[in-house]
Subunit: 293 residues, 2 copies
């Protein structure tokens, strides 16, 4: 079985390396990035999305957002021109669920299957092959590609039909953003009241207020360390998809909209490349205090 891998950025590159390590034959392509290193590891280089697809049984895409996925799959020289019955395209990008459904329609007309399979975990887990992968699509295609996905992730869950993977990812990103805002409001209040944030962390992390966000981000915040991790600009993209999707579905999400505005404020401050835990910087600025050790 040959796997086409399109999109060799911060995430796609280590993910494709894990597939090569697992013994899969790869046909790789990226419109902008070089991939000599992957060819040196045994992958075949392709000269277009179409060529990567035509050489493969399963095609994986890992791209920034909906327009990039639609262009790479449906655009001129795209995956759709190299695809046919029996082939499966797996989009592991985080995009709008409506875009996933649009791509599926077009591929179905050519006899190919499509799964949306966005990931959670960021670069470190892409490198380790321990991503959480949330899949939308049909059971048969899922069963076929599951062994491949398991080489990139430690948790691979079929959550529903096409688009469900990205719906689940948006739900994940809403919770993460709001949980960061939650610890931000709480710890800035405590710090301004003169209470040692290290002691507040110790006192509350084991109770109902505990969260993976608190455990992961408060130690970084206490060090003033906002190196990504997961960049503000990517969370802006995800929340924009969340807001668009929510509004189309008729689901008011006022707190998601509010935390989006704090991310926009960070963008104005030139912090798009900071870790999303920099949401606390917004509150620190408002309250004129820093939450530090």
């Amino acid at each position: 079985m040959t796997i086409g891998f399109i999109g060799l950025g911060i995430m796609g590159r280590p993910m494709s390396k894990n597939l090569i390590k697992a013994g899969y034959k790869l046909a790789v392509y990226d419109k902008f990035a070089k991939f000599d290193d992957l060819v040196a590891l045994g992958a075949e280089g392709a000269s277009s999305n179409k060529e990567a697809a035509s050489k493969s049984d399963v095609v994986i895409t890992m791209l920034p957002n909906s327009p990039h996925v639609k262009e790479a799959i449906l655009g001129p020289g795209g995956v759709i021109e190299g695809i046919g019955p029996g082939k499966i395209v797996v989009d592991m990008s985080s995009i709008a669920p409506a875009a996933s459904r649009e791509v599926e329609e077009a591929l179905k007309a050519k006899g190919a299957a499509f799964l949306d399979a966005p990931v959670s975990g960021g670069e470190p887990k892409a490198v380790d092959g321990t991503l959480a992968i949330m899949v939308g699509g049909d059971q048969k295609s899922f069963d076929t590609v599951k062994p491949i996905l398991e080489k990139m992730g430690s948790s691979v869950t079929l959550v529903g039909d096409i688009g469900s993977g990205n719906i689940t990812k948006l739900a994940n990103q809403i919770v993460v953003a709001l949980n960061i805002a939650a610890v931000s409001e709480a710890f800035v209040l405590a710090a301004k009241a003169g209470v040692d944030p290290v002691k507040v962390f110790d006192a509350i992390k084991g109770g109902l207020a505990g969260s993976t966000v608190m455990n992961a981000k408060i130690p970084m915040i206490l060090d003033g360390n906002f190196k990504p991790g997961f960049r503000v600009e990517l969370h802006i993209k995800d929340l924009q998809n969340a807001l668009d999707t929510a509004h189309k579905l008729g689901v008011p999400v006022p707190l998601t909209a509010a935390v989006m505005e704090t991310l926009q404020a960070l963008k104005v401050d030139g912090m798009v490349a900071s870790d999303h835990s920099a949401i606390i910087r917004y509150y620190e600025k408002l309250a004129q205090i820093e939450v530090r050790k």
Copy 2:
């Protein structure tokens, strides 16, 4: 050593029982509730706050909010009339930090020490003696009462000077309320998009979106079970104290203010006695869908 215990409600009653079980001599009093059961267990009944205090070395109060604490300690026939040098008053209620400081001033003038020591964990942990207790005050008084507090809690942390216990509790309650709102917006969106909320829970709980709130509340929400737990009306009280404190200190907390409004909407709907996870009912109503198994 005799311990005065004032306030024998849902929380204070099991807490005082744990002290009796541990072998302490208690003098108990409650302005409204009967306490025959505690007397039957060996406690001495007092006829006023003053009498409970005059018979004791350490006085614990466990009352609804700031006005009740101020009345019981500083009011006519209050603790302050039965107190003197060397005695320690420990208020375990969740109240405004400014009220704790006011009470401390008055008790200090009489030579007595004061600690604010609010708890987290609710009735089940009060019964089990596994509360998280966050203490503000001086190290010496803390060291004296710590063995007593350890009979009621599994975690007893001195977080700072007087008022710091309640600041920490407010930080805790901000995080809890916002984490409930976070899973509410996320799961209502997923449900309205037609994705099985059970699968969303399975797919995201192990990642960065994971939280104690998600693990504790989503299974109840999926069952449509909003039995408290922790009542909406109590979270309203805590967030009012959080907002008042934040505004006095100069800390804007816009998301805390927003989630307070969802609790107010539940109050309008007659749900003050529901568990605070009923915050999701606000969103379910807006989106005209229920997040259920």
